[in-house]
Structure formats: structure tokens, C-alpha cells
């Protein structure tokens, strides 16, 4: 790879395509009574048109924060404190609220975790769909209603003409999430940010909703940023995957590569701790310790206190994303000029 790092290597390095979303060195801060917390630190990634990028990590790793920062719905006092976000060719991180409003729904859609609370209980599903459609598209009420019916049909709501005037509480959780998807896709945005879209649903419904989301986005060529803590969801749905740890992106690459051959010690531990993906292990692996609090992130690599391979350099110098196989990983193990010699696999696996 060249010296200027290129982050967009969807499906094996097709650098010609302009990414839908390009995030560079994104930094999000939360000023608090006890000092400023850095919730996101130098996060960089791209999403190509039609691509599904999975974002994984433990809770608190910054995955939802990344989605909220991109669509500028951070909870105050959180704010973007550095870096750039580009939507297509347009820089969007520096837009003020009034300039950003037209982008939401029209260019970037969003789906939240809990379908039970995402819909306003006092407005019928039809009212919420029609107001969204009419906000973005030049349709009259009747045309918007037709479109709303069509959307409900597409997301698999049976007998939509009877359900359009129903209120959210009259739908089941799975049905509500279908409505939420219809709302997010109503204006055909180029990018959808799905923040744990199936976490709050019954296991039996989760797969259906994921399949639906994937199919609808594929049909429209919509790119998806799929935020989840569930590697199973990623394995099924995503093209590429980004792994986050303590507000930093530590590994990004094609989904098979990251799962089969993780490059960062944390990702390796993460994969080893998931039953059924790594086949050969009898006993589930557990990473020692826990993710640091945002107020106490160690110097150097954030993972160094838990890392079996950590050396002096890891404690003082923070690694960039470095090419590692078909992926990129933020670990000095992959520094071509001064590679850290890994501790042998057996020792690492036993948690030394």
C-alpha cells in the first residue's frame, strides 16, 4: 500500500468508486464536570455505494456514537470535536443544524434499536409515513398515502390498507420495526444507519427483519452502516466489518477475513469468545479484564493492559490502522518497519 492510507477497499480494493460515506479522523468529545471525555478518537472508514458495513464492539466502545455523529444526533453536550465526514463529495460534519435537516431521511436514514419507542404513540402509522414522505418528496396527500401503502406492502405488513390508520401500539414489535424500516427508507436515502435494529426483538423475528433490511437495501442500492454487538448478525449481513474498542476503530476488513483470520489481538479474542464461529475450540475463550472507562483510557494502544503481546511501544505510542492481510488493524504487530514479535498462540490462548 502507498504511504497515504486509503481506507476504501470494498470488495478487494476497488479504489475508483466514490464512497457514499467517508469518515476521517472523527473525534467526539463530552465535556463533563470531571473533565472532557473523548468518546470517539480518530475514527476513519468509508462505505461504498450499496455496501453493508458492520460496526461491532462491546457496549461503550463507541459504535452507536459513530452512527449518531454521522447523522449529527449526538446527545448534548456531546459534539464533534475534530475530523471530517463526507457524504458523497459533500463535507457534512461542519453543517449547522438547519443545513443538516434536509440531509436526514433524504440522504441518510436511521433505524434505532427499540421499535417500541421509535414511533410516536399519538400519531397513526399512516400519519407518520405521510408526513415523512411529504417532507422529502413533492407529492400531494393522496399520492403520499399511495406511496405509504406501497412502502408498508414492501416491508411485509399484511393488508396495509387496513393498518395505515392504526396506531403504533396496535402493532407487534417485529411489525413496528418493519414500519420503522419503511419510514427510514421512505425517501430512498443513499445510506441507512441501523443502530442495533434487531436487539430488542424476539430471536425468531430478528432474522426476518435482517433479511428484509438487506433485501430492500440491495434492491435500492442503499449502503448500510449496521451497528451491532452481535457477530452473528454481522456474519450474515455485512460485506465488511469495523471493530471498535474504547472509542477507537481497531480493525476493519472484509467480513470473512475478519472472522476467519482476525488481525488485532482484541478481535482475535472477540472471535474466540463467540460460540460456533471458531470451530476448533472446546472451551470458550475469555479476554482478561474489561474495556477501560472513557475517563481512564491508557496511553498508547487502548488494549495494551489486556493484550498478551503488549511491549513497551504499545504502552507509549498509539498504532495507526496498518495493512494486515486483506484487512487493516491498529496494532504494532503489523508494522512493516518494526514488527512486534507475537507471543506464541498457545500462550496467548491460555491467557498466560
Amino acid at each position: 500500500m502507498s504511504s497515504t492510507p486509503s481506507f476504501d477497499s470494498p470488495r478487494g480494493g476497488d479504489t475508483a468508486a466514490v464512497p457514499v460515506l467517508s469518515v476521517r479522523e472523527l473525534r467526539v468529545e463530552f465535556p463533563t464536570r470531571h473533565g472532557t471525555l473523548v468518546a470517539l478518537d480518530s475514527v476513519s472508514f468509508d462505505i461504498a455505494p450499496g455496501e453493508v458495513l458492520g460496526v461491532v464492539g462491546e457496549s461503550g466502545a463507541g459504535k452507536s456514537m459513530t452512527g449518531n455523529a454521522v447523522i449529527q444526533l449526538l446527545e448534548p453536550p456531546g459534539h464533534i470535536a475534530g475530523g471530517e465526514v463526507h457524504l458523497g463529495a459533500k463535507r457534512i460534519d461542519n453543517l449547522d443544524e438547519d443545513a443538516f435537516v434536509p440531509l436526514r431521511g433524504r440522504h441518510i436514514g436511521m433505524i434505532f434499536q427499540d421499535p417500541l419507542t421509535s414511533l410516536n404513540p399519538l400519531f397513526s402509522v399512516g400519519e407518520q409515513l405521510i408526513e415523512t414522505i411529504r417532507t422529502h418528496l413533492p407529492l400531494n396527500h393522496k399520492q403520499a398515502r399511495e406511496r405509504a401503502l406501497e412502502l408498508l406492502r414492501e416491508v411485509g405488513i399484511p393488508a396495509p390498507e387496513n393498518r395505515l390508520d392504526a396506531y403504533p401500539h396496535q402493532f407487534s414489535g417485529g411489525m413496528r420495526q418493519r414500519v420503522v424500516i419503511a419510514l427510514a427508507l421512505a425517501a430512498e436515502p443513499e445510506l441507512v444507519i441501523a443502530d442495533e435494529p434487531t436487539t430488542a426483538l424476539d430471536v425468531s423475528v430478528q432474522a426476518q427483519i435482517l433479511a428484509l433490511l438487506k433485501r430492500l437495501c440491495a434492491e435500492r442500492g442503499t449502503a448500510v452502516m449496521l451497528v451491532t454487538h452481535d457477530m452473528g448478525v454481522i456474519a450474515e449481513t455485512a460485506d465488511r466489518v469495523a471493530v471498535m474498542y474504547a472509542g477507537r476503530l481497531i480493525e476493519i476488513g472484509p467480513v470473512e477475513a475478519v472472522i476467519r483470520d482476525p488481525q488485532h489481538p482484541y478481535t482475535r479474542g472477540l472471535m474466540a469468545s463467540i460460540p460456533g464461529i471458531e470451530t476448533s475450540r472446546e472451551r470458550l475463550y475469555q479476554i482478561e479484564g474489561s474495556m477501560p472507562r472513557l475517563a481512564a483510557i491508557p496511553a498508547g494502544c487502548a488494549f495494551n493492559p489486556r493484550c498478551p503481546h503488549a511491549v513497551e511501544r504499545c504502552r507509549s505510542e498509539r498504532p495507526e490502522l496498518l495493512p494486515a492481510g486483506t484487512s487493516r488493524a491498529a496494532c504494532w504487530l503489523h508494522d512493516p518497519t518494526d514488527p512486534v514479535i507475537p507471543v506464541s498462540e498457545e500462550v496467548a490462548a491460555d491467557g498466560h
Binding site: I71, D98, D114, E131, Y167, H169, A186
Partner: protein, 326 residues
């Protein structure tokens, strides 16, 4: 729906019966009504005659039934103090109280909601902070003190507005007199209406603000923003509707409070309403007037409670559908 309605009406009747029992007990156990009416000098025979005429020689349950029957026809006997029928005394003073209460209520609700929304949406701006601080004074101060200070400032020192009374009134229909159609009547209304409404205004404002801040944090508001709805639509269509529904209940109940608090304002401004009548009755232990006032206020509260319940039911689809399914 029907079950809900019946339950609420039964509850209302229960409250009314309890209040009637209290009012009835007042008649019976607080002082001797006959003694109160004829004084010490009357002969034993006079007293017995009056006792019989008032039905006080009947067994208690029959007297209670008679009391309720009379009350249902707005018949509360004769005032101990002025020896006039209590109902007449109340009816001639009712328009003054109702006009004052209604104008105050409109003032309090409209200003309360508008200021509540403003301070919620512009949290931290200097004007919001100023309004919030001022509202603290509004909830902390006794109504009568606000009234007295307003009189001192606007009537005594500045001489802009009348200090007391209802101004000129004109008759409307058979028994209603209004001060709303004359300049002096309207001018006289300003200070009492502000005094009476200020407490409710600050209460409604703080309530609307707190509720709205709560709603603005809700997921569906975030999702509404994520759908690309404009700030205006999100705030004034989605957030406002969700804010106002729980607020309706409290606002409704506060309106009942306005009529009760009119007692104080009427005393401060010498407003010729039923509240001032009640205070005089308490001071002189004029039981029939107290009982009648109590029943009237109870009726107002119970009716307002009922209306609020029904309104709540009408605006919240969640209740509506669950109720319909029952």
C-alpha cells in the same frame, strides 16, 4: 368506554355524597341552628316551633335524605347572619366569581403553555432563565401578597387601575350581570385576574416545560429528527402533542383550584363574589352558607374531574383503543 364512564360517574357521586355528609354534619353538630337563628331571647315554644318547621325533629337519616333532596334543588336554607335564602345570596354573586375565574384561567392556560414551550425549547437562553427565576417568585409568594403588592404599585402609586370592586356592571339576561362590557369593568378585572391566575400560570408553565423536556428526550423525537422532519414539525407537532396530553389532567384540576383560590383574591380586591361570601361565613360561623359553598365547590371539582377524564380519553389513542376492546 361505557364501563370507564360508569366508573368515573360512580366515583363522582361518591365524592358528592361524602361532601354532602360533611355539610349535613356541619348543620347538626356545629352549634345549634335554632339557637343561631332565633337568638338567646326566644322562648322554648318558639324554638320547638322552628325546630319542627325546619324538620329538625325528624330521625337523622330522614333529615339527611331531606338535606340531599333540598341540595339537589339548590335549596340550602336561610343564612344565620343575614336571614336571607342562601341560594339567592350565592346566585347574585356567582357571575362576579365566574367571570373572574374564567378570565384568570384563560390567562393562566394560554400564557402558561406558551411560556412553558418557549422555556423548554430555548433552555439556557437569558430570557428563559429570567422567566424561570420570575416563576419561582410566582410559586413561592402567597396569592394575597401578590394582590396587595399589585394594588400598591398599580393603584396607589401609579394610579393606573382601580384598587377594588368590580367597576360598572350591566345586566345580561335575567340574573347575570357582567363587568366585561364596560371599560371600568374591564379595567377592574385586570389586577384581580392577574393575581388569581399568576400562581396557576407559573405552575402550568413549569409543568409544560418539564414535560416537554422529558418528551424531547424520547426516542420517537430522535427518530422524528432522523426522518428529516423540520425542527418546527418535530417541536410543535410531535413534541407538543405528547407534552400536552399528560398536562391536560393537571391543567383541568388547576382550573378547579382557581375557583377555590378566588376566595383570597376576592377578599384582597373586595370583589363581590361567592368567595368573599364564604370567608364572611367562616368568620361568623354561618353554617348554611358554608355548607352551600362547600357543595357548590365540590360539584365544580367533580364536574371538572369528569371532563378531564373524558378529554384525556378522547385525545390519547392508547386509552381509546384499550377501552374500546374491553
Amino acid at each position: 368506554m361505557l364501563a370507564f364512564l360508569i366508573q368515573r360517574v360512580l366515583q363522582a357521586i361518591f365524592v358528592m355524597v361524602v361532601v354532602a355528609l360533611i355539610a349535613f354534619s356541619l348543620f347538626h353538630y356545629v352549634g345549634d341552628p335554632v339557637l343561631n337563628m332565633v337568638g338567646q331571647e326566644a322562648t322554648e315554644a318558639d324554638r320547638a316551633a322552628l325546630r319542627a318547621r325546619l324538620g329538625l325533629d325528624q330521625p337523622l337519616p330522614i333529615q339527611f335524605f331531606q338535606f340531599i333532596a333540598n341540595a339537589a334543588q339548590f335549596e340550602f336554607g336561610i343564612s344565620y347572619r343575614s336571614a336571607r335564602p342562601v341560594t339567592d345570596m350565592i346566585v347574585e354573586r356567582l357571575p362576579a366569581t365566574l367571570e373572574l375565574a374564567i378570565i384568570s384561567a384563560i390567562f393562566a392556560v394560554v400564557m402558561g403553555i406558551v411560556l412553558g414551550i418557549y422555556t423548554a425549547l430555548n433552555r439556557g437562553s437569558w430570557l428563559s432563565n429570567f422567566i424561570m427565576t420570575a416563576s419561582l417568585i410566582g410559586v413561592s409568594l402567597p396569592t394575597f401578597l401578590i394582590g396587595v403588592l399589585l394594588i400598591y404599585l398599580f393603584a396607589v402609586e401609579l394610579g393606573w387601575l382601580p384598587a377594588f370592586g368590580r367597576g360598572q356592571t350591566v345586566p345580561v339576561g335575567d340574573w347575570w350581570t357582567t363587568g366585561l362590557l364596560t371599560t371600568s369593568g374591564l379595567r377592574s378585572l385586570i389586577l384581580p385576574a392577574i393575581t388569581l391566575g399568576l400562581f396557576q400560570l407559573t405552575l402550568i408553565m413549569r409543568l409544560v416545560r418539564a414535560e416537554m423536556l422529558e418528551v424531547l428526550r424520547a426516542d420517537y423525537i430522535k427518530f422524528a429528527r432522523a426522518r428529516g422532519l423540520s425542527k418546527r414539525v418535530v417541536n410543535l407537532r410531535h413534541a407538543l402533542k405528547n407534552t400536552l396530553i399528560p398536562v391536560i389532567t393537571i391543567i383541568g384540576l388547576q382550573l378547579g383550584t382557581i375557583i377555590a383560590f378566588a376566595i383570597i383574591t376576592e377578599t384582597v380586591f373586595q370583589w363581590p363574589g361567592v368567595g368573599a361570601l364564604f370567608i364572611t361565613a367562616v368568620r361568623f360561623v354561618d353554617i348554611p352558607v358554608m355548607a352551600a359553598y362547600l357543595m357548590m365547590i365540590a360539584l365544580v371539582f367533580v364536574v371538572i374531574n369528569l371532563i378531564v377524564d373524558l378529554l384525556y380519553y378522547a385525545v390519547d389513542p392508547r386509552l381509546r383503543v384499550q377501552g374500546g376492546a374491553k
